[in-house]
């Protein structure tokens, strides 16, 4: 599971560098995210721009990552592609996660 990060002030953006978050990588994704979040107290945004597809196992993994942040922080999402957006909408998870249409403007070209 390939992840990169960007650290603007007070925020950590984790960029998922995979085309799919699915049953084949859901556990790896959770573990890789656990490492990314260790000891972190900033806002966290997950950049899904490169993720063309997510299945229900992948969705469950994203929910699990949200829980890793504890009750006082939410996991923000950005860059949902059409199929990913559809899965979040159908399962009503779009009401659980703050979803940004795009990455913050000053970062779009940098990543």
């Amino acid at each position: 599971m390939k992840l990169d990060q960007t650290l603007p002030p007070d925020l950590k953006i984790v960029h998922v560098r995979e085309g799919r978050i699915d049953a084949a990588c859901a556990i790896d994704f959770k573990e890789a995210m656990r490492e990314q979040l260790e000891g972190l107290d900033r806002r966290v945004m997950l950049d899904l721009t490169q993720v063309g597809f997510i299945d229900s196992s992948g969705l469950g993994a994203v929910v699990a990552v949200r829980k890793m942040l504890g009750p006082d922080r939410v996991l923000e999402l950005a860059g949902l592609t059409p199929a990913v957006e559809k899965v979040f909408r159908l399962t009503r998870m779009d009401s659980v996660f703050p979803i940004h249409p795009q990455l913050p403007a000053d970062l779009r070209d940098a990543v």
């Binding site: 085309g19 799919r20 699915d22 049953a23 084949a24 063309g52 597809f53 299945d55 229900s56 196992s57 969705l59 469950g60 993994a61 929910v63 699990a64 949200r66 829980k67 059409p82 199929a83 559809k86 899965v87 159908l90 399962t91 009503r92 998870m93 659980v96």
Partner: protein, 147 residues
């Protein structure tokens, strides 16, 4: 794996593993060689196929290995799918109801239970039978009707 983009009938026989499911979905749906469908139907079809195939890997072949035989017929009205496997049968109660896990989530957000909910939401004419040691699941995926 026989695969001919020029035909509307596609048959793929894949081993029942998560990676083979990923590879199959990628061949069917990712550019440049994937099927050419309108965006809404493309997403719908991929979601349903992913959930059905993952269920077969996880449940039908929970205790032994085997293959999944996938036949898809694409046309402008949608796709017809027939999936056959020789895994364990579904319970006598038949196809899972696919209740919405968010309907009554309790104190904790659900991390699972979305598979059959998505299938039931997106697929039409679901039909399951068990014949001579094979599971056969048929369904259709059609474009959303515009109200």
């Amino acid at each position: 794996m026989p695969y001919d983009r020029g035909m509307s009938l596609i048959r793929i026989v894949l081993p029942a593993t998560p990676l083979a499911v990923r590879e199959t979905l990628s061949r069917l749906f990712d550019p440049p060689d994937g099927v050419d469908l309108p965006e809404a139907l493309h997403s719908k079809a991929q979601i349903v196929l992913a959930e059905v195939l993952n269920n077969i890997v996880e449940h039908a072949y929970a205790t032994y290995a085997g293959d999944i035989d996938l036949c898809c017929e694409f046309d402008d009205k949608g796709l017809n799918v027939l999936i056959t496997d020789r895994g364990l049968p579904l319970p006598l109660s038949g196809l899972p109801a696919g209740n919405d896990p968010m309907e009554d989530p309790g104190d904790d957000l659900p991390e699972g239970g979305f598979g059959w909910f998505l299938i039931r939401t997106l697929a039409e004419d679901l039909n399951y039978d068990r014949t001579e040691g094979s599971n056969r699941l048929r369904f259709r995926v059609v474009p959303d009707t515009i109200a």
